[in-house]
């Protein structure tokens, strides 16, 4: 069955799985799933599901490599493991890790290294272990959300929740945007078939929780983009639209995650 998003979408304005352009997939999230770790979480967006566990902050084990670097603050150590059964076809891997999972690990590490208040834990390591149970698009975004939940569960201080989401365009978008005749729609939260065909952008945002005097006079909460990655080719005129849609998705996810975190403390 050929997937032809570019021809069916303009007719129906519905995506392959029946969503509208600005709809997220079903999100399920849970924290404290694994009592053996400092913090753990389960996060699924549609058929992408991820389990994440956090160990630490604990004394770093690698004495020689990071002895001086760990002095200023904690080191975030991320390990991503995509299970063999995660995809549609079973993936054969030679050796330890593949390119996709090491790229995700690097992105997660740099995102959380700068996001967390690591200065509170000098000479220590926060190790995050991400297990991908099934893959259906938006893998990096789901991993960021899962890590945020697990880190919150572990009680590691951070200025605000770091949430992430993907955004795409409903066509190849290789020519400049035409303001009079705009037939391409931005799409939110892409699934795997869409991701393979359409340009996609992953954006992660954080809000800093207002403290002190500013606490009272915040009508619009401040949002910062922390992560942006994009692999596909796209005309630059579309980037702004996609970013706007992605950031909006991030704030939707943030509300959901806040609900999960606050709800679980009550139980």
């Amino acid at each position: 069955m050929p997937l032809d998003t570019s021809t069916t979408y303009p007719l129906t304005k519905l995506r392959l799985d029946g969503r509208r352009w600005n709809e997220l997939r079903l999100i399920q999230a849970q924290i404290s799933t694994n009592p053996a770790s400092s913090g753990s979480s389960f996060f699924s967006m549609g058929n992408t599901s991820i389990m994440c566990s956090v160990h630490g902050p604990a004394e770093g084990r690698r004495g020689d490599a990071s002895g001086s670097a760990g002095g200023a603050g904690a080191i975030v150590d991320v390990d991503v493991n995509v299970a063999g059964f995660a995809g549609v076809d079973r993936k054969r891997r030679a050796g330890g890790s593949d390119r996709q999972s090491s790229r995700i690990a690097t992105t997660l590490r740099s995102a959380f290294q700068s996001h967390l208040h690591t200065y509170l834990y000098p000479h220590s390591t926060i190790s995050i272990h991400v297990s991908v149970l099934s893959v259906d698009g938006s893998l990096l975004a789901a991993a960021i959300n899962a890590c945020t939940l697990a880190l919150v569960d572990a009680g590691i201080p951070m200025p605000g929740l770091l949430t992430s989401c993907t955004a795409g365009m409903s066509g190849s978008a290789s020519t400049p945007q035409d303001p009079r005749n705009n037939e391409l729609d931005p799409l939110l939260d892409l699934s795997l078939p869409e991701e393979q065909e359409l340009p996609v952008l992953t954006v992660g945002t954080t809000n800093s929780v207002p403290v002190g005097e500013n606490n009272m006079d915040t009508d619009e909460e401040e949002m910062k983009v922390a992560v942006v990655t994009m692999d596909s080719k796209l005309h630059c005129t579309y980037v702004e639209t996609m970013l706007a849609v992605g950031i909006d998705g991030c704030s939707q996810i943030r509300e959901l995650l806040e609900g999960v975190i606050k709800g679980s403390s009550r139980a």
Partner: protein, 387 residues
Amino acid sequence: MSNQRQASSASQVPHLSPAELSYLYTSLSLPKTPIRPDGRSPTQFRPLTAETNILPGTNGSARIGFADGTQAIVGVKAEVEKTILSNETLASERGAGPEPTDQEGSTTAAVGGHGSWVQMSIEIPGFRDDDALPVFLSEMMRESLVGAVGTDENSDMTGGLKGRLVINKRWHWRLYIDVLLLSQPLAYPLPLLSLTTHLALLSTKLPKLKSQGEEDPFFDDDWAVAEYLYPRSSPSTGAKISSSSSRPSFVRPPVTLLVISVGENIIFDPNREEIAVADAVLAISITRDTQAGHLRLLSIRTVDPPSRLTQPGVPNSENVNMLGAVAPTDDIAVLNPVTGEEEVPGVWRPRRGGAKRSVISEMVKTVLKKGGVGEEVLEGLEGVEVS
């Protein structure tokens, strides 16, 4: 991390002093009534939670979590693959040529299944794929899975896993079993992984075959009519089975149990501290594959007991600091009846491995006997809802 890697086959030795080890050993080796640190009876397992079919993208999956927080997820995926016929099978096929009417029989005789059709990989955090522990564990579990039919040459080739994977002479299923340990191995992870794999295989379904005989395989789209890899006892599944080679519904995937001996006592499902003082550690694989529902022993493997690596205690008579402080009659070396080594009571000596034959046969008996531990475990797993 390098510390972990060194612990090759056994789990990491907990940091217990010789005095603690000796205390543990003494309480576990009390004749007839061992006292375990967590108060379990010798044959009692740790409490666990289990669920099956948690991953929609797999043919079968299961998750088991022990109360101490160790969790494992197993996903089973099946792929259709072309059978490469070896010269040997081609020759035997020519021999079976004159009787093409007996289709079912000649198919199973020509292609009895191959052990390499089952692939197993184990992911343990902190270990690489090719580290000793994952490789050893996966091979230990795979060999009992595959071996479950190796001895069953006579009638029911279809009853075992290898035979079950045969579609026809030219095609077969390839089974990928991926085991994910989600937390650091607190105890030797074998029982957890084996139980989870068992559950995942129980819940594994293969799409129903629509094509017949030697045609290229063609499957029913309807997942609701898919057949269990290990047929369940419900009457609907065993529908189309020729009378000659009935596929028995009581065949179950093997389970590997970890058993240790301490003195004369036999202890099941040991935790990390208990393994650290074990005389012998055995991995016993059992399965149920006969009409009468008897259990069958598939394999026994000895696991390197970590007690070998512990520090010995020093008896007072040899301790320079205690020289003259105690009367020399205080500790007299006695011959340990189990290990045949001279020991001072209350002073820890690393076990050199090895166990008496009577102890090993007692272990096997406890597992296999009617109403024994093996039956209890299989029944417990059967009770998990496979939806």
